[in-house]
C-alpha cells in the first residue's frame, strides 16, 4: 500500500468516522437522559437521505404519510387526556402541531414540485419531514413506558427499528439512492485527491459537535437535559418534566440522524435498511465511551470509521465482521476495568 492509498483510505475512514461520531453522541445523549438504547437511530439516517433523494427525484416522500399517521396518533392520545382533564385551551395547539402542520406539509409537497427548490431548501424540507418523527415516536412508544427497565425499553427500541425498516421499504422501495454532491470542489493532498464533500462532512460534523457543546453548556434546555441525565428524580423535582427531556432528546437524535444521512447520501448509496449498520457502528463508538462519555464515544467512532476503511481494503468481504468483532475486545476491556454495581431494577 502506498502513501496515496493510505491517505485515500484514511480520508474515507475519517469521513465515515465523523458520521459515526455524530450518531454515537446522539446515542449517548438519548441513553443518559432517557435510559433508552436508541436502536432506531440508524433509521433516521436512512430516512433523512432517502427523503432528500425522493424530493430530488420529484416524488412525494413516504415519510410525510408516517408523519401524518404518527401526528394523528399523538393528537388522539394527548387530545383524549386534555378533554378528560378539561384543558380545552391546549387542544388547538396540539391539533395544529400534530395534524395541521403535517397536513400542510403534505399539501405543500403536492402543490409545488420540490425539484424546483434549491438544494438547501430541499435539505430543510427533508429535515422538517423527518425530525418531528423523533419526538412523536417518543410520545407514542416510549413515554407510556418511561418507568420501565432498560431491558424493556431496549426491546421497544428494537421493535421500532424493525417497524421503521419495514416502513422504509414501503416508502422508498428496495433500490438504493445517492444524491448529487453538495459541492464539486476537489483539492489535492500529498498526491491524493481530497473531495470537497469529504471536507464538508468533517466540517459539518465538527460544527455540529461544537454546537451541541454550547447547547449543553450555555442554554437552559441543554442544562435541563444534563441535569436529567445526572439525576432523573432530582431534575423532576426541580421542575424539568421527564417527558419534555425525552422529547427534546429524541428531537436532537432525529435531527442528528437525518442530518448525517443527508451528509453521506452523496458519498454512499443508501438503501432503506442501510441505517441499521451505520447506527450500530455509532454504537460501537458509544460503547467504547461506556455509553457515558461524549469525547471518548466520538473518538471511538472515528476509530471505527478508520478500521472499517482499512479493513475494506485488506479484507473487504470481512469488513463488517471485523468492525463488529471490535466490540468484543472493547467490552472485555470495559468489563475488566468496570466497578459497576448492578442497580436494582424492577
Amino acid at each position: 500500500m502506498d502513501l496515496q492509498i493510505l491517505l485515500l483510505l484514511g480520508q474515507d475512514g475519517i469521513t465515515n468516522g465523523a458520521i459515526y461520531a455524530l450518531l454515537a453522541l446522539a446515542l449517548v445523549l438519548v441513553f443518559t437522559v432517557t435510559r433508552v438504547i436508541f436502536i432506531p437511530q440508524g433509521e433516521f439516517v436512512a430516512y433523512g437521505a432517502l427523503t432528500l433523494a425522493s424530493l430530488q427525484a420529484g416524488k412525494v416522500p413516504g415519510t410525510v404519510w408516517l408523519l401524518l399517521a404518527l401526528g394523528t396518533t399523538v393528537a388522539v392520545l394527548d387530545g383524549v387526556r386534555l378533554v378528560r382533564e378539561g384543558r380545552f385551551a391546549k387542544l388547538t395547539p396540539l391539533l395544529i402541531l400534530n395534524i395541521g402542520l403535517p397536513l400542510l406539509a403534505a399539501a405543500g409537497l403536492f402543490a409545488m414540485p420540490p425539484t424546483q427548490l434549491p438544494l438547501w431548501a430541499q435539505v430543510v424540507v427533508s429535515m422538517l419531514l423527518v425530525v418531528p418523527l423523533g419526538p412523536m415516536i417518543y410520545r407514542v412508544a416510549y413515554q407510556p413506558l418511561a418507568g420501565a427497565s432498560v431491558l424493556v425499553l431496549l426491546i421497544v427500541s428494537v421493535a421500532i427499528h424493525v417497524a421503521l425498516i419495514g416502513l422504509g421499504l414501503l416508502f422508498f422501495g428496495a433500490e438504493g439512492s445517492r444524491t448529487p454532491s453538495f459541492t464539486d470542489l476537489s483539492f489535492e493532498l500529498a498526491g491524493a485527491p481530497l473531495q470537497g464533500q469529504t471536507i464538508l462532512v468533517v466540517v459539518a460534523s465538527a460544527s455540529l459537535i461544537i454546537g451541541l457543546y454550547f447547547f449543553f453548556e450555555r442554554t437552559i434546555y441543554g442544562k435541563a437535559l444534563r441535569a436529567t441525565a445526572m439525576n432523573r428524580t432530582g431534575a423532576r423535582l426541580m421542575g424539568i418534566p421527564p417527558t419534555l427531556a425525552g422529547k427534546l432528546c429524541l428531537t436532537l437524535a432525529a435531527a442528528i440522524g437525518a442530518f448525517s444521512g443527508i451528509l453521506i447520501a452523496p458519498i454512499t448509496t443508501i438503501y432503506y435498511d442501510s441505517g441499521f449498520l451505520i447506527g450500530l457502528k455509532g454504537f460501537v463508538g458509544a460503547i467504547i465511551g461506556g455509553l457515558a462519555s461524549y469525547p471518548v464515544a466520538a473518538l471511538g467512532a472515528v476509530l471505527v470509521g478508520l478500521l472499517e476503511s482499512y479493513s475494506s481494503f485488506y479484507a473487504s468481504a470481512f469488513k463488517e465482521v471485523i468492525v463488529f468483532t471490535l466490540i468484543i475486545p472493547v467490552l472485555l476491556w470495559r468489563s475488566l476495568t468496570s466497578t459497576h454495581i448492578e442497580e436494582e431494577e424492577e
Partner: protein, 586 residues
C-alpha cells in the same frame, strides 16, 4: 390428574397431528417447534432472569453450520456433531457472557447484536461454508435405526425436544438453583447476601438459552438438509425475542404460544400484505414491530396469561413433606468475638457516611446500633455484610478479614442479614423466599435440578425453610405470595430467611418497624431465644423500649460517628446521646 389434563390433551393432539394433517401444516408445526425451542431459552433468559439476547439466531446458526459442515465434508455422525455444536456454542456463550455480564444488563443484548451480525457475515463470506449459497446435501438422522427422512417423521423428534426442554426448564425453576435464577430479576443484592453467586447464575441461563438455540439449529439443518446464512440473521434473532415476548416471557408455555402465533401470523401476512400494498417485501415486520410495542405497553406478560384463564386453576402445593434436618454448623461458644469492626470509614464521593466507626459483637449477645435517621447505621450494615464495602478500616468476621470477600463469601461463613427496605420476591411464596436463605446449605446444581435428581435435598431445604417460618410465627402464611403480606410481616419473613442460612451472626436492620405491640413482644422473645442458643445479633432499631429491653450493649451513632457505647442504662444517661436525640437539654 385434572391439573395435568390440558397437558395430556396437548401432547395427544401433537402425537396425532402428523397422521391426519396435510403436509403444509406439518411443515408449519415443525418450524413452530424449532422456534419454540429457541424461545423457551429466551423465556428463561428474559422473562425469568431479566437479561436478553438478540443473537439467538446466531447460536442456531452455529449449531446448524457445525453439523452441516462436519457431516458433509468429513462424514461425521450427526449425533457427534450435535455434541460438537453444543461444545462450540457453549464456549462462545461462556465467553460472551463473561465479558458482558459483569457490566450493566444492557451490554449483553448489545454484545449479542454485534456478535449476531459478525457471525452472519462470516457464514456468508467463508468459502468452506459455501458463502451465501450455503451447504447442501446434509445427511438424514437415524434414531435407533429409524431414518427420519420426511418432515412427518422428523416432527416427532422436534416436538420431543420441545417437550423435554419445557419440562427440564420447569423442573429447574422449581429448585434451589431455580430460586437463585428467579432472584436475579429485582433481587440480585438480596440473593448475593444470601450466598447466591449471581454472575454465575446469569451466565448459566445465558448458556442454557444458547445451547437450546444450538440444538434447534442442529434439528433445522437435518430437517432442511440444507443451510444458508439467511435464517441466522439478526432479524431472525429479533423475531425469536418477539415470539417469547408476545407469547408471555414469564411462562415456558408462552414460548410455544408465541412461536406458534408469530409463525402463523407471518405466513398469513406474507401472503396478504404485498397484495394489499401492491409491492413485494417483508412488510410483516411493520405489523410485528407495532404489535410488539403494544404488547409491552398493554400486556407486559404477553398472551399466555390469557390462555391460563381458560385452564383449570393450578392448586398450589399446600404441604411440605417431612425430611431429615440439614446439618448445622458448630455453634460458637458464648463470648467469642464474632465480629470486630475497627475504624471503618465509608465515603460516597465527598460524603462521609461512616467515619472511624468501631464495634464488636460476641456470640450470645444482642448488640444494638442506634442513632437518629441518617446517622449511617444502614451504611455500616452494608459495609459489614460487604453489600457495599467500606472505603477504609478493618472488619474481621470470626477472626478473618472481610476485605477480600464479597457478600456471598461472608454469607457462607455464617453471617446473615435482613434489609431495611424489605427485599423479598413478591410473586414467590413465603416458603420459597425463605428457602433462598438456605441456598448455601444445598449443593445440587442445574443439571440435577433439570433431571429431578435433587428431590431429596430439595425436600430438606424446604423443610428447613418451613421450620424457620414456623419459628417466627408465620406458619399460616407459608404458601402466600410474599408481596401480599403486611410490611411488618414481610420483615419477619426476612428474619426467617436469614435464619434459614443457619448463621452464627445475625444482622437485623429495623426488624420491629411496622409491627404491632404483640408482634414486637413475640419478636423480642424470638431474639432472646436465639441469643440463648449462642447466636450473636447486631440490631438497628428505632423503638427504644424494644432496644433497651433487649440489648446487652448499645452503640450510638450520629453523623456517621460513634458518640457513645455501653450498657443500655449507661447510654441512656449519656448527655451526648440525650443531645443527639432530644436536641440538647439546657
Amino acid at each position: 390428574m385434572m391439573r395435568q389434563l390440558p397437558l395430556i390433551i396437548f401432547v395427544a393432539l401433537l402425537g396425532v397431528g402428523p397422521l391426519v394433517l396435510p403436509e403444509f401444516h406439518v411443515t408449519l408445526l415443525n418450524y413452530i417447534g424449532l422456534y419454540a425451542i429457541v424461545a423457551v431459552g429466551l423465556v428463561l433468559l428474559t422473562g425469568v432472569g431479566g437479561l436478553t439476547s438478540f443473537g439467538q439466531a446466531a447460536f442456531v446458526g452455529l449449531g446448524a453450520y457445525t453439523t452441516a459442515w462436519l457431516t458433509t465434508t468429513y462424514g461425521v455422525s450427526p449425533w457427534l456433531t450435535l455434541l460438537i455444536g453444543l461444545v462450540l456454542t457453549g464456549i462462545v456463550a461462556l465467553f460472551l457472557g463473561f465479558i458482558t455480564l459483569r457490566m450493566g444488563g444492557h451490554y449483553l443484548p448489545l454484545g449479542t447484536i454485534a456478535w449476531g451480525i459478525s457471525l452472519y457475515f462470516l457464514f456468508g463470506n467463508v468459502e468452506f461454508l459455501g458463502g451465501h449459497t450455503g451447504i447442501t446435501g446434509i445427511p438424514t438422522v437415524s434414531l435407533f435405526g429409524w431414518e427420519l427422512k420426511s418432515g412427518r417423521e422428523f416432527y416427532y423428534l422436534i416436538w420431543l425436544v420441545v417437550l423435554l426442554a419445557i419440562v427440564s426448564i420447569r423442573n429447574l425453576l422449581d429448585s434451589r438453583e431455580g430460586r437463585a435464577i428467579r432472584a436475579l430479576k429485582g433481587g440480585a443484592v438480596m440473593a448475593e447476601a444470601m450466598g447466591v453467586n449471581t454472575p454465575r447464575a446469569k451466565i448459566v441461563i445465558f448458556l442454557i438459552a444458547a445451547l437450546l438455540a444450538s440444538i434447534s439449529g442442529w434439528l433445522y439443518a437435518h430437517l432442511q438438509r440444507f443451510v444458508n446464512p439467511t435464517p441466522f440473521s439478526i432479524t431472525q434473532g429479533i423475531e425469536y425475542l418477539f415470539m417469547a415476548v408476545v407469547g408471555g416471557v414469564g411462562h415456558v408455555w408462552g414460548a410455544v404460544l408465541g412461536a406458534g402465533l408469530i409463525t402463523i401470523l407471518k405466513q398469513w401476512l406474507q401472503d396478504w400484505l404485498p397484495q394489499i400494498l401492491g409491492q413485494s417485501g417483508n412488510f410483516e415486520i411493520i405489523v410485528f414491530g407495532i404489535a410488539m410495542v403494544l404488547v409491552l405497553q398493554k400486556a407486559r406478560d404477553g398472551l399466555w396469561p390469557v390462555i391460563l384463564r381458560w385452564l383449570p386453576e393450578r392448586s398450589l402445593k399446600r404441604d411440605v413433606p417431612a425430611a431429615e434436618a440439614l446439618p448445622k454448623r458448630a455453634p460458637q461458644p458464648a463470648g467469642t468475638v464474632l465480629l470486630d469492626a475497627s475504624e471503618v470509614t465509608k465515603r460516597f464521593g465527598g460524603l462521609v457516611a461512616n467515619n472511624n466507626m468501631s464495634l464488636s459483637v460476641k456470640a450470645g449477645e444482642v448488640m444494638a446500633l442506634i442513632g437518629p435517621n441518617g446517622a449511617g447505621k444502614s451504611t455500616m450494615f452494608n459495609c459489614i455484610s460487604a453489600v457495599n464495602p467500606a472505603t477504609e478500616g478493618k472488619i474481621a468476621f470470626l477472626g478473618e478479614s472481610t476485605a477480600p470477600l464479597v457478600a456471598r463469601d461472608i454469607a457462607s461463613r455464617g453471617m446473615s442479614r435482613t434489609f431495611q427496605h424489605v427485599r423479598l420476591l413478591g410473586q414467590m411464596s413465603v416458603l420459597e423466599n425463605v428457602a433462598i436463605g438456605a441456598h448455601l446449605r444445598g449443593n445440587k446444581g442445574v443439571l440435577a435440578a433439570a433431571l429431578r435428581f435433587d428431590r431429596a435435598e430439595e425436600a430438606r431445604l424446604l423443610a428447613e425453610a418451613a421450620r424457620q417460618i414456623e419459628r417466627v410465627g408465620l406458619k399460616d402464611h407459608m404458601f402466600d405470595a410474599a408481596g401480599s403480606l403486611a410490611l411488618g410481616q414481610q420483615r419477619i419473613v426476612e428474619i426467617a430467611r436469614a435464619l434459614a442460612s443457619d448463621p452464627c451472626l445475625l444482622l437485623l436492620d429495623e426488624p420491629a418497624a411496622g409491627l404491632r405491640y404483640r408482634e414486637k413482644q413475640a419478636l423480642a422473645d424470638l431474639l432472646r431465644r436465639l441469643r440463648a442458643e449462642g447466636m450473636g445479633i447486631l440490631l438497628v432499631e428505632h423503638d427504644m423500649d424494644f432496644v433497651m429491653g433487649l440489648a446487652d450493649r448499645v452503640v450510638v451513632m450520629e453523623f456517621g460517628e460513634k458518640i457513645a457505647e455501653g450498657e443500655p442504662e449507661e447510654v441512656q444517661r449519656d448527655p451526648k446521646v440525650l443531645e443527639a436525640y432530644l436536641g440538647g437539654v439546657e
